[in-house]
């Protein structure tokens, strides 16, 4: 019986995460979509816990539910779209073809998922001790993966600069002589 509870939790939360994704797809109001995204993302955090990825589960909650979705909601409220600006759903040939291709890809992949991976032995040995803990992930991150970790800081810095440049952009280019304006003018011509 002790193995049954995690399995039931898996079905509950994977259904919740898929349901949240469906609501993101079908809701017209972007604010409702953002709330559905929170449901999907938090259910995924529970799935990470079931996979004994404890550190990642908390990181998922903090980064996705705490930062990314808040950013989405911030922008949605900042834009404050009216009903007309949201637009109506329209059918088009390209949308139909695209949706068909997406579903066909899922159906094409499904047999591979089903067949290629053998079912776990009756008693899955369980994760080794300390697997997925902050200590284990941190040791890998600051040891073997130190270079990618440091490159990430450059990525975040460039994203920060890009955010500032995009947010400060004026409708008409100003006649100033800062380096950023010069660069923007250079790339504009």
């Amino acid at each position: 019986m002790s193995h049954l509870l995690p399995d039931i939790l898996f079905y509950v939360f994977s259904a919740l995460s898929v349901a949240g994704a469906v609501l993101v797809l079908v809701n017209r109001n972007p604010m409702t979509c953002a709330m559905s995204l929170v449901v999907s993302v938090l259910s995924l955090a529970i799935l990470y816990l079931l996979l004994s990825a404890h550190f990642l589960a908390v990181a998922q909650m903090i980064v996705y539910a705490g930062a990314i979705v808040v950013l989405f909601i911030f922008v949605i409220m900042l834009l404050n779209l009216t009903d007309e600006e949201l637009g109506r759903f329209r059918f088009s040939l390209f949308k139909t073809i695209g949706a068909f291709v997406a579903v066909a890809t899922l159906l094409a992949v499904a047999p591979d998922i089903r067949v290629s991976i053998p079912a776990p032995a009756a008693g899955d040995a369980g994760a080794p001790a300390g697997y997925g803990s902050t200590k284990a992930v941190g040791k890998l991150l600051f040891g073997e993966f130190l270079l990618p970790f440091e490159l990430t800081s450059i990525l975040i810095l460039s994203a920060m600069v890009a955010g500032v440049v995009l947010a400060k952009r004026e409708l008409q280019p100003k006649k100033t002589h800062s380096l950023v304006d010069w660069l923007l003018g250079f790339f504009r011509t």
């Binding site: 994704a21 999907s40 993302v41 998922q60 989405f72 949201l86 991976i117 997925g132 990430t152 890009a162």
Partner: protein, 104 residues
């Protein structure tokens, strides 16, 4: 496929469903905010697959990959929403079909 016990296959199936829903969101919706959410769904599906592979093969390196992917996703959303706000300021629209010039 047995429903019990839950193994790698079940997590990969969930991941495949989430990824397909993300692709559908990107393809079908024209609201740029929701399109970015679809991209997030796809990244989440990929993360779930990586964590499942990591757990059932016993290699904890997958956790580091997922952490780095989360960072990339956060940076991508920050820049994407910045572009979206700049677009809305100049064009007064966030419909993907009306922003086709790749310039302002």
């Amino acid at each position: 496929m047995n429903f019990f016990p839950v193994g790698q296959t079940h997590f990969l199936a969930t991941s495949a469903f989430l990824f397909t829903l993300g692709v559908l969101t990107v393809v079908v919706r024209r609201n740029l905010i929701v399109i970015l959410m679809g991209v997030e769904l796809m990244l989440n599906a990929g993360n779930l697959a990586i964590v499942a592979f990591s757990r059932f093969s016993g290699h904890p390196a997958g956790h580091v990959y997922v952490l780095l992917i989360m960072t990339v996703a956060a940076a991508e959303v920050a820049v994407g929403l910045g572009i979206l706000i700049a677009l809305f300021r100049t064009r007064k629209t966030i419909n993907a079909d009306e922003a086709t010039y790749l310039r302002w």
